[in-house]
Structure formats: structure tokens, C-alpha cells
Amino acid sequence: MNLNTITEVKRPQSADQITQWRPGYAWLAGGTWLFSEPQFGTDTLIDLQGLRWPALTPSASGLEIAATCHIAELFAFSAPPEWRAAPLIRDCCNAFLASFKIWNASTVGGNICMSLPAGPMISLTAALEGVYTLWPRDGAPREVAAVDFVTGDNANILAPGELLRSILLPASALSKRFAFRHASMTKLGRSAALIVGTQGEGDLLLTITAATPRPIQFYFPEMPPATALRRAIDARIPADGYFNDVHGSAAYKRHLTLYFAEQIRAELAAA
């Protein structure tokens, strides 16, 4: 829709050209969320497209994804065969309610910075032990683990004006085995639960997303028995700790979480 409160669009060639920050400014990535609701508090958009960050940089250490990488570009990425967890990329893209046409515009960083519980790029990067590089307005770049970035529904650790620059998915995580479970109340709809397990050597890293306001991760050095897994989840996430919204009640999401977590455990334990 038209954002009628916007009076200016800045189109920097480099992020340093934005020297000041004030309320009313917003980074513009794909714009697929920004242009989907009125933005009464915003008067200036700062376009990230002119920064021309290379979308995907694979290397021996892993896959670096620019925040401005389009979902469509990520979806099209063909990974080396030793990155056994790479199919998770497509699973997570398909978990968007948004269709491929939105993917042509929306970005990985935009999805992460929206910080919605059902943000599948949050799921993907948290499950694959991603590390985010953040560029504060003043000060040195900092790094943060993906799983610590989102703090709640539509809330994260970004300071005003701070920019998500890139995401590194380490090769070690990309090389793991994985199991993926996803549910939505409507066909191909918004996620009610998106749960991923990865496994290196007999361990289990379980990442719960969509069902909870922020990603919650459990690490077990050895594959736990079913009861221990369930106990660990219940201990960490109280019944009201699940995200209650029109895409699923908290009780339902808890139920899905426990059900899928056990399926993932069983699947990875069987191998």
C-alpha cells in the first residue's frame, strides 16, 4: 500500500553514509512487510538495495548470507553435497506463508529483523547455529548467535539504527544430519510450529520456533530418551510460554511442540 507518511527515501551507496539516526527512520529491505501495513511512525526509508552486498558467499567456513539476500536467491542456492543440512533451506523457505512472488522481493534480513515467531529465516539460522553480524550506527560491528537475537514477538536486540549485515551458517552445522517438522492450521499457511533437530555425533540440537515467541534451543550431548526430552522442554517452556495467536492457541502449539520434538528425536535416534 502507499505509505503516506513517508516524506523521503534515502538511497545510500554505503552504510556509513547514514551518519545519524532518529525515530521515524526505517531501513528498507524488500519492503514486503513495510508496505503491507500503514507505518504511521515512519517518515524516512533508507534503502538497503544500493549497498549491493553479495547475496551468498559460500566458503570452507560455511555460508555467508547477506541480510539483503532475497529469499528467492537463497531458495535457488545449490549447496555442496557434504552440507547435508542444506535441504533445510528449502524446507524453511516453503514454510513461509508468503509465495515465491514475495520471495522475489523479501530478504533474509528483513524476515529476521521482523522477528515474528513464524519467521522461517529465524528458524533456519537458529537451527544451523548461525552467527549474525550487526552493524551498530556508531561503534564496531558485533556478532551474536542467531538464537539470541530475537527476544519476543516482533522484538529483538537491535539498537535503534543498528543494521543486520549478514548471517554466517557454519560449515560444521551445515554438515549435520537434520529432521524438520512443520505445521500450520491451513494448507501451506502461516506456521504454528516449526521444529528442527540437527545431529552431529550422536548429540541432538533441537530448535523450537513458531510455537514460541522466540526460538528456544536445547542441546543434548547424547540423544536423550523421550521422557527426558519432554521434561526438558516442559521445564524450560511453561504452558503459557507458547505463542497464542490466530494461527494457533498456546495449548495447541505446546501439543505440537512435544509431538514433533519426540518425532524428531526418534527419527535422529534411529539413524
Binding site: 503491507s36 526509508l45 508468503a98 522475489n104 495449548a251
Partner: protein, 916 residues
Amino acid sequence: MNHTPADQPQPAPTADAPRNGYTINGKLYFAEPQPGQCLRTFLRERGVFGVKKGCDQGDCGACTVWLDGTPVHSCLMPAFRAAGREVTTVEGLAPPDGSLHPVQQAFLGAQAFQCSFCTAGMMMTCAALTDAQKEDMPQALKGNLCRCTGYRAIADAMHGRAEIAEDIAGEACGASVPSPLAHAIVTGEARYTMDVAMEGMLHLKVLRSPHAHARIRAIGRDRAMAVPGVAAIFTWEDVPRRLYSTATHEDHLVDPDDSYMLDNVVRFAGQRVAAVVAETEAAAEAACRLLEVEYEILPAVFDPVAAMAPGAPRIHDERGEERGNIYADIHGEIGSVAEGFASADAVHEMTYSTSRVQHVHLETHGSIAWQGEDGRVHIRTSTQAPFIAKQKLCHLFGLRPSDVHVFTERVGGGFGGKQEMISEDLCLLAALKTGRPVQWEFTREEQFIGATTRHQMTTRVKLGARRDGTLTAIELHVVSNTGAYGGHASETLGASLGGPMTAYRCPNKKAAGYAVYTNMVPGGGFRGYGSSQTAFAIECAIDELARLLGIDPFAMRRKNMILPGDWIESAWNDPSDVDFGSYGLDQCLDFVEGALAKGGGLPKPEGEEWAEGTGVALAMLECGPPTEHRSGAQMRLLPDGSYHLAVGSTEMGNGSITSHRQIAASLLSARADRIAIVNADTDLAPYDTGTFASTGTVVAGQAVRMAAEAMRDSILGFARRHTGADCRLDDNAVICGNERVGLAELYAIGTRAGHHFEAKRKSYLSLRSVAFNVQGIRLAVHRATGEIRILHSVHGADIGRLINPMQCRGQIEGSIAMGIGWALTEQMVYDAEGRMVNPALRNYRIPSYADVPPTEVFFADTYDRIGPLGAKSQGECAINPVAPAIANALADATGVRFPHLPLLPDRIFAKLAPHA
């Protein structure tokens, strides 16, 4: 608008376009968009009206265009990003040689549209799919919503299946001839309400109440008035203090006069408080935000049962103490249900409820009003009832009917939502006060919070039967939540106590119904109109009773369903004007039972967590409303020997312009395309009550039949006198004896002789027939996740002779898809203050391609002796058996009855027994 003089198409660029150059369908435009402008409005400002708005939020895909060949949603795309790039819209899809793109050809061939508001976006998406994407259409089309078709015809188009029949003189009726606008639709030329630009247009926006119940103490407008571009502001102090109902019916007394255009009391969150008109939408919006409204919050009540209790907050004070918030109550009994239950071997009693849903016609409400040079006012609008809207506007503004012109061009869906006058009035007010044209287009959010909905109803059903299944008593108790205003409340309540109970023969029936005011968004007309709600309850209850008695659900229905020759009655004794013009319920049941037994569709998914079940439900419809309904049609032979047909009724995707032409063509032994048709225009067409209550065929179609017969008689009568021989029509000529006289020639001769080749007829709806629908469902439900998958859907429809089989099927499929949405996906959620939590298509999910399975549709072989050329109503009733068939299949699969819609996984999972 932001038109600049330089903003003219330029020849296509040879080199890279400059930074403020936009190439749109091969033409270069130089323009500077507003900083926050999206590409959708930028394109429309350049006159590219094929780019539609279904949501403006990225959810529906109606605005899909290509940017350098890549499909994107133009409502989300910042306009400036298209600078120096090539934009392709539906208008640019076809090759320049005038032929059609293969996808346009495919959509044309399969007639993959009804209202067609989604079609441009649908085609722009389909035409961009890779072969791999085409393998998974549910995924590929998840960003394109269609509310009309149920997606089957779109799937056909994608598979290259064509269905249109050739237009052969004299054989139009019964043939799947295409819509007369088909070419304009696939090329994006068809014009909807907002698809015009007018010099000097002002834009209207309203401020809506955040409170469910409040008195407005004061409205400060100084800051709002100071916004540059604001032309006028209207509050309750500026409008005629005249009560009316926004609901449209022939008989204005069936709806309560309980509304003011703008009021000093708001009764639901979302009600209009004030209107601003300004040079731009942006200025009007900004001014709305700056209005300073002082509200005195009043206690609110949302639940109709609580609203009926003594001491509940009063919603309409002026209605007298004793009636409280009960707007209408209806009671009746035939026989004695007390005796009936006493003689029953089994009794089932349960409370069922159905939810409030929104129509989600893809084109939102909107109007444009202006004063013409002829000194009259003109209102171009998106309505199902232009003639009643005109009457209401005359009433509100004290205008003479001859000074008011209301018309539609093409309407992007209605489903009952546009049986309501909720945008025309303010546009006219502003046009009269400012002397300028004024337009107002609802946002998608406004559709949810400020338009109407299906009435939420709670139904207590009690059924008794003897051991052999014979019903001994039926008792219904219905509470309908009409929300803050009572439009359609008594009529839907009446319908809720009609059809569904009438479908069963039983000597003892009793009904009590209450329509109650609350502080919710108002209910309104919605496909199925009250009957859907109680059909759900009764059809579930019939299954439960059958289960108690150990009788098969089909057998239970056959034992008790109404048969030809039966007295048609629900719970009152008055005779009615309904009769069996034909009867095909038995055929429909047989078909559905047979088709389910044959086992088409998908197999049960693998895994022991999946439980499978089948369900059936039936529905009966009286073809047309019990209230008055009138329609007129007018025909003329034109000098060139072709015909002109004018009908008052609205085309909103129901296909009436196609079928009306077919009716006329078949009676005139002509090809359908020899008949030009205009409709829904108070200047150009005869009076019509409106296109609702299943009247497009049985009333308007009847008027067309009579006018065409009179036209035929006029032509043949003159020809006979002129030639002295017996004559018959043959397409564009009359054949008199051995002589063939072209109609153009005959017209010339006749006109010289003073003959008038014209006819006008009116039809009135009395003696109404009955139509039937039966839905069968086989589904699987996942006991852990609660996911429901419809594996097989079959439907039998008894709608008389099919005037256009393809269209009839489309209406049935669209109804089924809507029924699936009501049953499985749609939910309007409110917070404790009565504010809607999810007023966006992202969060209120109408069925997408993936949600709608194909349906095997069967048509009973019947020919109605009441309806025109053997046809009956078809657009409405098919929705009624869908939700109960799904619920019955779910009960069959799980052994658990879920009596409350919607059957969303998070509402059912807890009761699904884990498998053993």
C-alpha cells in the same frame, strides 16, 4: 492525483531508460512517484487499471505484475524501484499482434473466472511459472486468492482444458457459451468501479471508532482542517438526521430504520465517526488521524444471550424498555412437539453454533459520486442493488428519483456483502457539498471491521424419532447475533427457521428464534442467508440421531426427506407460495451415495495417526425470498439487425449477463453474441430489486424470458403481416415461407411502417420453486495435529435445467470452496473490547488453491415448470450442506461430535482420541 503534464507515454526507449523513466508495457513514462508510493497505485495513476487491489497488503496477488519479467506483488513494491526497469501488467501480456498470450487463451477457454477481479493477477502469476512450479500448483498459487471459483476452473486452464461451447443460433440455452466480457477480462480491459480517472476527483476517508460503544461528546476538527488539501469534514452534525437501514430489500420495512449516516453514538468498534474529503487519499488519511474525538465510553455487550438479560447495556435506547436488545423474535409450532417427543424412541438434543465470517469479495466496497452537467447526481458503485441504493439515497438526501443515477460497471464479487448501502451515501454527501467528484474505496481492513458479516448463530436442536427412524418432532431454538444494527436480522432469522427444517417431513415442528443487538460488527446478507447456519445444526443433528438409532445417514434422510406432493412447511401454519416446480433431491442423494461408495478422490494418507470418515448433508432452498422481489427487462431490435437487452440486475461474477443473453438468444433463435446487454443501471435498465436471494435466474431471468418472447412476437407479428406468410426467426433473419428477410431490412421496413421493435416485461416472484443440494465428503483427520484433509468431495445439485452448464458448475464449486472456508479456515477473532484482532487476509484465511479439493459435481435431471426455461436458483444453496457434511465426516472418523464452527486444528485437537 499526481498527473504531471510530462506524464505521457513516450516511444519505447532504445538505450537504458533514465532514472525517472518507467517502462510500462513497452511505453516509457517520465514521472516521480511519491516517496512512499507503491507500484500498484503508481501504475493505476498512469491509467493501467488492469492492476487490481484485493488487499493492498501482499496477500491476495490481484496486483501481480512483472518487474523485468519477474512476478511481484505491486502493492508491496516501492514504486521508485521500478525506475529504469520494465513493468509488464496484464495489459502488456498479449503479444503486440493482437493475439492472446497462451495463458490468456487458456483462461478464456476454461472460463477460469467469475467476477474476474483476481484474474489479471492470476494470469500474471501463471504466465510466469516454470515447468517445475507448474508441477505443484498449490504451492505456486498460494499467493493468489480467488473467492469465486473454488480454483477448479483455474486448474483446468493450467492443464489446457477448455470448456467453452460454440455459440450456435438457437442453441444458446444449455450450452457453455463464454461470458460476453471474456475477452475484455483476459486482456484486463474490463472496468470495475474504481477503474476510472476523473478530473478534479476528491478522495474520501473515514475515521472509525476504536470503541465498541461510546457517545461522541465532541469532535475537534481544526487540526484536521489545517492539513493541506483537505476540502471538507463531515460529522454527525453535518448529515441529515434521518434514520434508515443500510440493508437493501424491496420492502424497506423488513429492516429496521436504526442507522444514521453518521451518528453521535457508536455501537461497534469500526463504526464510522467522521468523513474527510481531500485532494489526495494521503491528506484525507492524515486529517482523519488529526480529528480530536471526545468519547464517553458506554458499557458494551458482545454476547447475544447476555444482551438479552435484564440489565444488559441498551444498544438502541429508542426502542422501548420491554423489548430490550431483542430486535426480532419469531415463534411457531405445528402439531405438538411435546407429543412428538413423548412418542419418540430416541431423542437427540444439542447446541450447535456457527461463526461470523466475512464475504471477502475480492473487490472491496467503493463508490464514486459526482454532479453531472445534466444537473443530476451520478453514483458509480459496487452494489448488488443499484435501484434500492438509489431509493435510499433519495430518502436520505430528499432528492427526486429523476435526479439520481446509480449504476455499476463490473462488480468484483458480492455474495450478499453488497446487498448493503455503505459507501454511496458519504460519497454523495461530499459530492453535493463540494461540487466535486468524490471517490471512496474501502481498505481490506475496513471490509472486516466496517462492513457486514454472516450472522453468528447458536442453534439448539432437539429431534425425536421412532425406532425405524421416522421423525416425530423437530424443535429449534436459534439466537442470532445481529451486532449493532439490524439489517437482514429478521430475514435471516426467518430463513434460519425455514428451509433446513422444511426439508424434513414431520408432523410436529416448533421454532423459536431471536435476533439480538450487541456491540459487534453488524450481520448482513451472506450466501445461504440464515439457512446455512441452521442447516449446519440440523444436518449434524440428523446424523447424531441416526447414530443413536443405528441407522445409516443416507437411509435416515431418505426416510424423512420431503417428497413431491408433500405440504411444504416449517413451523407455521400459514400457506406459502412455494411449490415443487421440479424435484431431484432423490437423484442427488443417490448420486452422492454412489460416488462416495465408488471411492474416487485421494486415498487415506499413510500412517496410523490418520482417521478416515465420510459424511453427507442435504439442503433445500426456496428459489427466491419470501419478501417481494421484482425485475424488469427491455429488448430492442437495432437498425443493424442485432438486439439490445437491458436488465436491471447486477453481474458480479454470478454469470447473469451470460445466462440472460442465452435465455433471450434461445427464444429469438439467435446466436448469443447478437445480443448486446446492459445491466444494473438506473438510467439504462428497467427497475430491479437487486441481485440477491437467488433471484438472478428466477426473477430477472424470467423477465428476460418474457421480454424476449414479446420481442419475438413483435418481430414475427410484423413479418407475418408484411409477407403474409408464416414466419420463424433464424439468427439474423426471419424466414417467411420461402423468403429470408434480414432483420436489418425488416427493421427498416417496419420502422417506416410505424412498427416498434421493442418490448418490455416485468416479472414478480410469486410461486417459488424449490432447489436441492447434497454434499458428500470423505476426509482424513490427523489425530495428533488436528489437520483435516478432504480426500473426496462430491456434490449433487438439483437446480433444474442448466442454462449454462459451465457456469452452473462454477457457482457450485465456488459455494463449496466458501463452505470449506467457513467450516475449516475462517475465523474472525475479537479481543475483550470487541476489536477485531485479525482484520487482514494474512490472518483471516480464506481458502487458497491448496485448501480446496476438486469436487465431482452431479446435476439432477430435472426441468422446472416454474423457473424460466426449466431453470431454478443455483448460486446460493450449494454452500449449505458443505459445513455439516464435513462435520459429519469428522464425527464419523473420530467418534467425537464437534458442534461449533470453525473446525480449526487448535479447536479440535484436544478431543481427538489418540490412536490405540
